[in-house]
Symmetry: C2
């Protein structure tokens, strides 16, 4: 999954206005601060001069001293001999870092990125040394002379020295923090701060540091190291608090809501890394149902839940990551497969494993398509009135004739517009999604929205992979697209993202590997016959692009 | 700790003749095979042509086909696109590898080392590209122009490409195996095989591969990832079987012995890595006692054990690593400190934390010293009869005058020898350590052996660190040398390694950091006054070297 896609899928956030209700440890409070900063910068840039990369710092002398101390401990942590005792230095550095203001953290991270990268003089020396050597010939397993082996040893040693010299100095800091208790968590917070800064200011040296740190974190967070843990009401409050705080898909409103999600007919599983105990890095919520649910309302609020022995379907309805600093690292890769295997073993009567998933990119894609195409249509209409519209290769009426007519005949106001796409754009961007309360509008919108949603999921691609990040995530994991559901999520967010439509992906145990393989190699998306049928009309018109 | 030192300390072995008693899984059986091979090669080289690096292979065509299949799966595992599904390929490779004969494993590992290292054509191209660029100036945080940031981005990108091109291709295999269930364990077995081959044949390319793999394993086995687990009689038989198999210091003779070591007055703790469940990578055995024990016999066989509420001392009497493939990776670093902290919390009445440790290098050092010095003494005596012996800077009588006289007057046979050192050498190398049964010999040997043992532990160094690997291990961890104990280990191995002497290292909670720090920075070894007193006579003679 691409970075942006995963960032959307895995978005972690505190719901605004709620954080104060939670009892947070100092560490968590710091995290939240970093995160809120993140949310702000993801929106519009604030009035603190962050936008132009030219902050004016006005630290008190107290601040300055604290900053210099942290800077010194950072320097010691990097430059100490590897056999020296580092525990206290690393603790000093991480505690000191937390005490810094956002401005000073930024300053420190830039120092780390610029002053602790490579010794380029040494790199050039080693390059010259390396270029002066040839790899000795005759490197066969048998019959090597002792002399040849000696030359080879030298060659490999210099090659290794060159490799080491190209590793930035800050690698030492990362490696040492990783072996330090609490260090992995600290690195994840550090990276969250870095991502915040980069969102405002694309600083090349910091970008290079981030990409290096991300590589390291990916290695350390190998799925083989992650433990699958079933989260229950018996878990500690500090862990459950994090579930409430980080549920990114369907916010948990209160303790009763949380208890429901962990109670009868529900399951919750998380991946825990041993170096970050008591805090799942990613978690998934499951509902045990009689049938694959069509709306999130019935999953979140059906009462009473299905008795577990009657359930035949396990529905994955939410997956959330808890660490903003681990954005872009695919933690979910084996999670679903492991949960499916576990559930199947515990409850053999479960025969269907499906999701009820958001379609986070649908509306964004559709609105931009409607805007550009209705503009093109207008231009075409004015230059070649009543001429053959298909001459422009860019122009495409994404609506069918009957949909166009239905939209234009909704009201006099709409009839005066240039075309159906303009009408649709106008309705969909109306304040508060008012259209959702009008049975008339819903009836007219449903056919084109459902048809275009199928097209978006199955045909719109980027570099050969599904454009929608959540679709790409599940297809990569070996799922197929089963069904799209009208008015399946009536929440503000659901309407905003996907016009209230949700999708069921299905995992068939026997096909997971095969589907994943064909998706990877050819980009082929497996879909149910029903869904392909919904799409067909588009193909008949010959307008499906890519 | 240096590699060789750790290899000695951490040596893992199955006691010969016993493996067949254990019910082993196929994997464990394979490991054992690898290990036995290791034991053989560590001794004298076997008659299979392994010594000259020129094995004649005679694989049947069946063997050939199997080999080619494993080779192919290895190639696929490395060359597949990273987004492709790898699980089956990696499983095929690791299962295939286990089915190979030692000769074919060797062949495959050499192919991996030689054909999958670097693309050196690409490296040279990137070096040229890199050398043609200058790091753009004016890399300040503020006031950078967009153009400068663009140039910097390019520079960092090429630098990163160069760095990546210097990573061997086989890194991909290691990384992928690490994320694969069971892969970390497999890599440890692979490295055990590599170390066996290198012990016979120092092949440069394989040595380079090993050093790369070792770096990777060190990263993945960060102490922060290791879980401290108390091993008890309630653990699974498959885990306990491994404790029996891998106890390297004081072999466990039967189930009753094992149960004792896990029962009242005893503790056993292991580090478990989440990716290698059910198998501690290293474990430590503890006895709760009234006083610091002087002999291993009383620890292993005192009956009944001290009631736990009467114990004031926790004695670490054994530490063993279970993975020959993790040799040289310091897994024990935080183990003792964590166990001390845990025990102190659970049992506040424990005030002394000490070890009863072997001195694996003492006899080897002493015998070589005796042989060389007695030879030198002989030469001196013949060339300058009755002259001043101190003229030769190499010559040193490591015996005191009264020790010399006592040795020479033991018997007529000895009186005819050239000097006391020759007598001592003769006695210590006698068959079956017969001296241990003669009260007369013991009385004469004890003073010089104890004195020289104190000297060996406190003064004999290598690169500024204690020569004895176990001493270096504990000193690095912040211990001090408390006491040496005569006839503390009367086992064959104890007599062989250290003339039956054992040592108590003591961990003082308040001094651990300070002692470790001073040992690291200056090589200073903290010792008890008693022990320093035992040493003093040597210093008075002015013969302490280094």
């Amino acid at each position: 999954m691409n970075k942006k896609g995963l960032a959307i899928l895995m978005r972690t956030r505190m719901r605004p206005g709620e954080p104060s209700k939670l009892a947070l440890s100092p560490l968590a409070a710091n995290e939240m601060r970093a995160e809120n900063k993140g949310n702000q910068s993801a929106g519009s840039s604030m009035g603190d001069g962050g936008g132009e990369g030219n902050r004016v710092l006005s630290p008190s002398s107290n601040n300055m001293r604290a900053f210099e101390q942290v800077r010194e401990s950072m320097h010691s942590a990097i430059s100490m001999n590897k056999t020296e005792v580092l525990d206290t230095v690393l603790s000093d550095f991480s505690e000191g870092y937390f005490s810094l203001s956002p401005e000073n953290r930024r300053k420190l991270l830039l120092i780390l990125a610029k002053e602790y990268d490579l010794n380029r003089v040494q790199v050039r020396q080693l390059i010259n040394q390396y270029l002066s050597l040839e790899l000795p010939k005759g490197d066969g397993a048998q019959g090597d002379t002792v002399e040849e082996e000696g030359l080879l040893s030298t060659f490999y040693r210099i090659e290794r020295n060159l490799r080491h010299s190209l590793q930035p100095l800050y690698e030492v800091l990362f490696e040492r923090l990783n072996t330090h208790p609490g260090g992995l968590k600290f690195l994840s917070i550090l990276r969250a701060d870095i991502l915040c800064i980069l969102a405002e200011d694309n600083i090349a040296s910091l970008r290079a540091l981030d990409s290096y740190l991300k590589e390291k974190l990916s290695t350390w967070l190998s799925p083989a190291t992650l433990e699958l843990h079933q989260i229950t009401w018996d878990d500690s409050a500090s862990l459950l608090e994090k579930i409430v705080a980080y549920e990114a898909v369907h916010p948990i409103s209160n303790l009763i809501d949380l208890k429901r999600r962990l109670g009868v007919g529900r399951r919750c599983f998380g991946y825990i890394h041993p170096a970050i105990p008591g805090e799942p890095l990613i978690f998934i919520e499951v509902a045990l149902l009689k049938n694959v649910a069509q709306t999130i309302q019935e999953v979140l609020w059906d009462n009473p839940p299905t008795p577990e022995h009657e359930a035949t379907c396990a529905l994955f309805y939410s997956i959330s990551s808890t660490q903003p600093g681990l954005a872009g690292i695919n933690l979910g890769k084996f999670l679903i497969k492991r949960v499916v295997t576990l559930l199947k073993k515990d409850m053999p009567q479960i025969s269907t494993f499906a999701t009820l998933s958001p379609i986070p990119g649908f509306m964004q894609w559709l609105l931009s398509k409607l805007a550009s195409q209705s503009k093109l249509a207008e231009l075409e209409a004015s230059s070649h009135p009543s001429a053959d519209r298909s001459t422009s290769s860019f122009w495409e009426n994404i609506l069918k004739q009957e949909e166009e007519s239905a939209l234009l005949s909704l009201s006099e106001e709409f009839a005066a517009m240039n075309n159906g796409m303009e009408v649709m754009l106008h309705i969909l961007t109306s304040k508060n999604h008012d259209w959702k309360n009008s049975p008339e509008l819903l009836a007219v919108l449903k056919p084109p929205l459902m048809r275009l949603c199928a097209r978006y999921l199955l045909q719109e691609k980027k570099r050969g992979k599904a454009l929608d990040s959540v679709a790409n995530f599940h297809l990569q994991n070996g799922a197929m697209v089963q069904r799209i559901n009208w008015m399946a999520d009536r929440s503000e967010k659901g309407l905003q993202q996907s016009g209230g439509i949700m999708v069921n992906y299905v995992y068939r145990l026997g096909n997971i590997e095969e589907y994943a393989q064909s998706y990877f190699s050819t980009g082929h998306i497996h879909a149910s016959p029903d869904l392909l049928h919904q799409l067909e009309n588009v193909d008949v018109q010959g307008n499906g692009d890519e």
